[in-house]
């Protein structure tokens, strides 16, 4: 398999992952709709949570990890040429596809029980865990290949190191967790440390996306090395925490919360300032207007999420406000990376027009409204993940904030759906022509 084919397939997996997440979101709605739920061929009561797990795993974990696979294959192709062959690349893709099947089937076949634990929600069935292992292994192969490449320390290598450390954390958690734990505690602790480290991977991917799309360096080489270096240095000691702290204890739990707070702040600040400097300099003129606008949207959404993260406390809606904005900023960078870098590289024509521009504005502004509404509501004490009376919307301010959240969410979903439909359609039709 050539490297160009490899990054084309990783791109396809990541966009299809979003499409699958979208289909499951629809099935979730159907499974709660009277009469319609009776037509569904599986038990709708147990499907709701399983469908939710599948929706989250594809829209968050698979989408991010497959995009990482596309980044690595693309950057390898930049060095070795698009037509260079890689045998293990095809095998890695095969593992990832098999892994995705393992992640879908338990929801459709009503296998195991759903656990909505943080970062990597699960279905407690061997097929689902096997799916996770295969997906992780596919990307591990690519990470190792990235590590042994003859090049200096760069963003791609840093991402590979971070990813490998995340897998080490998962493995150590698995080996240190005692037998006989309840399923929620087991899964929460299993994915806690590694899940936090994966957020460093996602941050590194954001910086890489900005770099690739900007073409001209956003930061000079010493700053790039230092920024990615800080990400790696903060994460390097994490496996040791499994040796010195009780994996079930509070110190271990709080360490990872603090790790995000202290470890991501400085790199995010440096890269964001670099991007702002780039966007106000003459260098920006080599980018089209829309790309510049998307950069601003991504920058604002991501940093708004970071700011919300510094101000959150407890279990109100400020917590989802923080991560929705951060993920929104990263997603915007991935969307423009696909349209401006990867799709042209695999000779998929990108048809621009009103809808094309609209997807970015809808998604970006929608996410900002959605997250800001949640943040305002959370500041007034509205609890997260509740509905109806449990939200205690007893003031006009709370109702307006949650209204902003709801309207923003719908607008963002419209932008996301446009992205998936348009991108997938172009990729599939280009494939047929090819």
């Amino acid at each position: 398999m050539t490297l160009r084919e490899e990054y084309r397939y990783w791109s396809l997996i990541s966009i299809i992952a979003l499409a699958i997440a979208g289909v499951f979101a629809l099935l979730l709605v159907f499974s709660r709709t009277p009469y319609v739920q009776d037509i569904l061929p599986w038990p709708w009561k147990s499907f709701f949570h399983k469908g939710l797990v599948t929706h989250v795993i594809f829209s968050f974990v698979v989408w991010f990890l497959a995009t990482m696979g596309a980044f690595w294959a693309y950057s390898l192709a930049q060095q070795q040429g698009d037509d260079a062959h890689s045998k293990i690349g095809g095998f890695a893709l095969l593992l990832a596809v098999a892994g995705c099947l393992g992640l879908i089937l338990p929801a459709l076949l009503d296998l195991g029980e759903a656990e909505l634990n943080n970062y990597v929600p699960v279905m407690t069935h061997w097929l689902y865990y096997l799916g996770l292992i295969l997906l992780a292994a596919g990307l591990l192969i690519c990470a190792v290949r990235q590590m042994i490449m003859r090049s200096g320390f760069n963003g791609q290598k840093a991402t590979a190191i971070l990813y490998i450390i995340a897998l080490i954390c998962f493995t150590l958690a698995y080996s240190y967790l005692p037998d006989g734990l309840s399923s929620p505690t087991y899964n929460e602790r299993l994915f806690w440390g590694g899940g936090h480290v994966l957020q460093f991977v996602n941050t590194a991917l954001l910086f890489l996306a900005w770099q690739f799309v900007a073409r001209d360096p956003i930061l000079s080489p010493p700053y790039v090395v230092l920024t990615f270096g800080i990400l790696v240095v903060f994460v390097l000691p994490t496996p040791i925490t499994y040796l010195i702290f009780d994996v079930l204890g509070q110190v271990h739990r709080d360490f990872y919360t603090d790790l995000l707070r202290y470890g991501l702040l400085l790199p995010s600040l440096i890269f964001s300032l670099g991007l702002i400097r780039f966007l106000v300099s003459e260098k920006r003129r080599q980018l089209d207007r829309l790309t510049q606008q998307v950069f601003w949207l991504s920058l604002i959404t991501y940093n708004l999420g970071g700011l919300y993260g510094l101000l959150l406390d407890g279990t109100d809606t400020r917590v989802p406000a923080h991560y929705h904005a951060v993920i929104g900023g990263i997603n915007l960078s991935f969307m423009i990376f696909y349209h401006r870098v990867l799709l042209p590289a695999i000779e998929v024509p990108v048809r621009e027009g009103r809808l094309f521009t609209a997807q970015y504005w809808l998604y970006g502004l929608g996410q900002i409204m959605h997250a800001s509404g949640m943040f305002l509501a959370g500041s007034m004490g509205v609890p997260r993940k509740t509905s109806g009376d449990a939200q205690a919307l007893d003031s006009l301010e709370k109702v307006l904030s949650m209204g902003l959240m709801g309207i923003g969410g719908i607008i963002a979903v419209l932008g996301g759906v446009l992205f998936v439909i348009m991108t997938l359609k172009w990729m599939m039709s280009a494939r047929r022509v090819g």
Binding site: L116, G249, Y262, I270, G381
Partner: protein, 149 residues
Amino acid sequence: MKRSDYIFLPLICAIALFLGWKLFAATEKDLSGVIIQPIDDIGAFIAAAEQIQPKEGEVYLLAQQWKWSSEITLQAGRDYILHLATADIQHGFHLPREAMGQSVDILLQPNKKYQVNLRNLKPGVYPIGCTEYCGIEHNKMRTKLIVLE
């Protein structure tokens, strides 16, 4: 390298070192004011949590999937001792910082009881949530601390 880089690069390194030290120092932070003891008889704790008129100045709160034993109503300006425990699996007790000037977050482990001093309570209604994922209905695990004038 530009001349300004000789200022900015060491400055970034110094800030990174400072943040790294803060992270390391955070692992040393003790749960100040929290006394943790093994629990011999969870039945006795449950009975104390169910008492309508508990001992003066002592409050009991029991966590279990997926509820807290009760709401808590206290008087502002008085000191209390809050006793916490879990009847089943791990839960997280969280009181927002508005209640006492600093937030309280305690991971409740099975077979242990926790004792926290509640001082300088400000009048208001404060949500108490579970900050540790404890199962599919985890989000429903909510109660309130009501502090009266």
